[in-house]
């Protein structure tokens, strides 16, 4: 895998740079940078690592060649791997904390994975809750609540699989879930349209809580409302990730070379990657952070304090149990 896509001058400029939403950059200290915590979840082989590297525009994680043949059949338990990258988007400094989850869904029995992720998400909430209640608070407290969870769907062309539905249903109330189709270059344009439709039908049918670009309560800006509607129509985002950069007419582009043609990651007709990147790091970074703080965390806090949930206890249907009240 060629690297060298790390230099800033090799990065194709995003076409959405001129559309920046007014007031979306609400942050206290411009110099320190806005912390943004994103978790990536998906089975291996769906392009999670490549997505990470392409998102950060540098080789954050080298594709580990599993050199050990003897290890291959052993299902490695899911791990949480943290990577921090400083990014600059439209003049705004972002401290991007990515939590990768290698091992998710790779075993024969994957029921445990959901529990682990749920525990992780709730632990971050618990830490904030504890911090809020301290008499003497830590000004340097690092908020590691996850603001967005990017979930990779296998490009089967059919509908959601059981693991997809379970995963998103159980965790949708604990984090903003952004479903994406990984390796979407395996589908033709027509197949992709049908696949997206079927997924959205499943999401409606099973009442799966995903982040659906809601308009703010007092949102009056027509452009914003339109933009959100547009993004909703694009869901789930079809991504193709790639680290290889070639020079096309002097412009650097990220491509995947096939015998029958070349997929350009930055080309909107080939993949939704650019748009998704802009959503995550630019247009909706504020929304995702706010919703995590004001809605998701608040809900958890209420539940926790009124004793409505025992920690980590979610029933099979994905609903919240009414457990014993805290003494």
């Amino acid at each position: 895998m060629k690297d060298g896509s790390g230099e800033d001058q090799n990065v194709a400029p995003s076409v959405y740079s001129h559309v920046s939403r007014p007031g979306s950059h609400r942050y206290k200290n411009a110099k320190k940078g806005l912390p943004f915590n994103v978790m990536l979840v998906g089975e291996s082989g769906l392009g999670r690592t490549t997505f990470l590297n392409t998102l950060c525009e540098r080789m954050v994680v080298a594709k580990a060649e599993k050199t050990n043949t003897e290890q291959a059949h052993i299902a490695e338990p899911m791990q949480f791997k943290h990577h921090t990258v400083e990014m600059e988007e439209d003049g705004m400094k972002i401290i991007l904390n990515i939590i990768d989850t290698p091992g998710f869904g790779d075993g024969i029995d994957n029921e445990n994975c959901f529990m682990q992720i749920q525990e992780y998400l709730e632990t971050q909430f618990d830490e904030v809750l504890a911090e809020e209640n301290r008499i003497k608070r830590n000004t340097k407290f690092k908020d590691s609540r996850v603001h967005a969870l990017v979930y990779f769907i296998t490009p089967t062309g059919h509908s959601l699989r059981e693991i997809d539905i379970e995963m998103m249903r159980r965790l949708g109330s604990r984090v903003n879930i952004i479903p994406v189709i990984g390796r979407s270059d395996s589908l033709t344009p027509r197949e992709l349209v049908l696949f997206k439709q079927r997924i959205m039908n499943d999401i409606a049918q099973y009442e799966i809580p995903v982040f659906s670009f809601p308009n703010g309560e007092d949102e009056e800006d027509e452009e914003t409302v339109e933009e959100n509607a547009e993004l909703r129509a694009m869901m789930p985002f079809a991504v193709v990730g790639c680290e290889e950069v070639v020079n096309e007419d002097g412009r650097p582009v990220r491509v995947r070379n096939y015998p029958w043609g070349m997929v350009q990651v930055d080309n909107d007709e080939h993949s939704d990657f650019d748009r998704l990147r802009y959503v995550l790091l630019n247009s909706h970074i504020g929304d995702l952070r706010d919703r995590t703080q004001n809605e998701i965390y608040e809900l958890y806090r209420t539940e926790k304090l009124s004793g409505a949930t025992a920690s980590g206890a979610m029933d099979d249907m994905g609903g919240l149990q009414q457990a014993m009240p805290v003494a």
Partner: protein, 342 residues
């Protein structure tokens, strides 16, 4: 028979047996049974329909939101008769919807292994009947196409578990069906890794080496083994490419022609399965997998009878069998010697 150039007085003419057999074969036709094992959405039905150039099976993947998610692996065989130049084949394609589709896939292979073994058992039963059919109906699985996930770095834990079991009961051909999302470098690396892992786990896939192989066979088999797993692209759609009509897939960035050898191994797979190794697949099933099954079953029956005889001699009740043998009335004491294994 027309006059042959060999028609001197020393020409005996037994070489015409091949033509005689061909005529018999044409009259009878033959059975070919294939089982498809892989997650839904791996391209199983599209591929088998492409290989036989007919719409044999529908995809069993979940398409509508109202469709329920299968909780277990189902076995769904579909039989059709195809004809080509006077040769008839009774083709049975066995799909396995639900395989590996759950969060917990423990044991998802059990219905598949059971089905394969049941076909061996059914054949054995027919064979052991005192009055058996002139031609025994053959429902035994001759080929198992095992679908690997493109993009994985190698075999998954489930693949290892299942391949070990499958290769013990049938001929397994590993396949990457939706290989149009892998670049050539990725494919090459993946194939190399799969071969290493198969060797490490001592998983033996078809074709097997045999003492009967000629030099030509060895060369052909070696080239097949190089290709494994076959990286194929299937399509039932006919599209126009440069004025020609081909089976392919039209992406936004190019068109895939499934018959193009630089695009996919489809032609190699089809030729391997149908043009060079078809009779091998049928024969090896009978001579290797069925024989193994038969031997172990008949041994068990023999042991059971011995136990029963011993129990009768001592006047006690016969012990319970550990594993149920086929319900075949025994042929009158004559046990066929199993053929030596290939």
């Amino acid at each position: 028979m027309s006059a042959s150039p060999n028609d001197t007085q020393d020409y005996v003419g037994f070489d015409t047996i091949t033509q005689q057999m061909e005529r018999k074969f044409l009259k009878r036709g033959f059975n070919f049974n294939v089982i498809l094992v892989g997650e839904s959405g791996m391209g199983k039905s599209t591929l088998i329909n492409s290989i036989f150039a007919s719409h044999l099976i529908d995809t069993q993947g979940r398409r509508a939101a109202q469709e329920v998610i299968r909780k277990t692996t189902e076995i769904s065989p579909v039989t059709q008769t195809l004809e080509e130049n006077g040769v008839r084949v009774k083709l049975t394609i066995v799909d396995t919807p639900g395989y590996s589709d759950q969060c917990n896939n423990e044991g998802c292979w059990i219905p598949v292994i059971k089905y394969i073994k049941d076909q061996h058992a059914a054949y054995l039963e027919r064979e052991l009947k005192p009055l058996r059919d002139r031609v025994i109906v053959d429902t035994r699985i001759h080929a198992c196409l095992y679908f690997l996930n493109p993009g994985s770095r190698g075999l998954r834990p489930l693949d290892v578990e299942v391949l070990k079991r499958l290769t013990e009961v049938t001929n397994v051909i590993p396949i990457i069906a939706k290989s149009d999302s892998m670049t050539i470098e990725e494919r090459t690396a993946f194939k190399r890794r799969i071969k290493e892992e198969l060797a490490f786990h001592r998983i033996v896939v078809f074709p097997y080496p045999s003492d009967e192989d000629t030099e030509e066979d060895r060369v052909l088999n070696a080239s097949i083994r190089e290709l494994i797993p076959f990286a194929v692209v299937g399509s039932e759609e006919v599209i126009e490419v440069n004025g020609k009509l081909v089976r392919g897939r039209r992406h936004g960035w190019g068109v895939i022609n499934i018959f193009d050898e630089t695009h996919s191994d489809f032609v190699h797979l089809r030729n391997f399965m149908l043009r060079t190794h078809l009779s091998d697949l049928v024969e090896v099933t009978a001579q290797r997998h069925y024989e193994q099954f038969r031997t172990s079953q008949l041994r068990q029956i023999k042991e059971l009878r011995a136990q029963q005889a011993a129990a009768a001699a001592t006047g006690g009740a016969p012990p319970m069998p550990s594993q149920a043998p086929p319900q075949a009335p025994m042929a009158s004491g004559v046990m066929h010697q199993p053929m030596t294994q290939a």
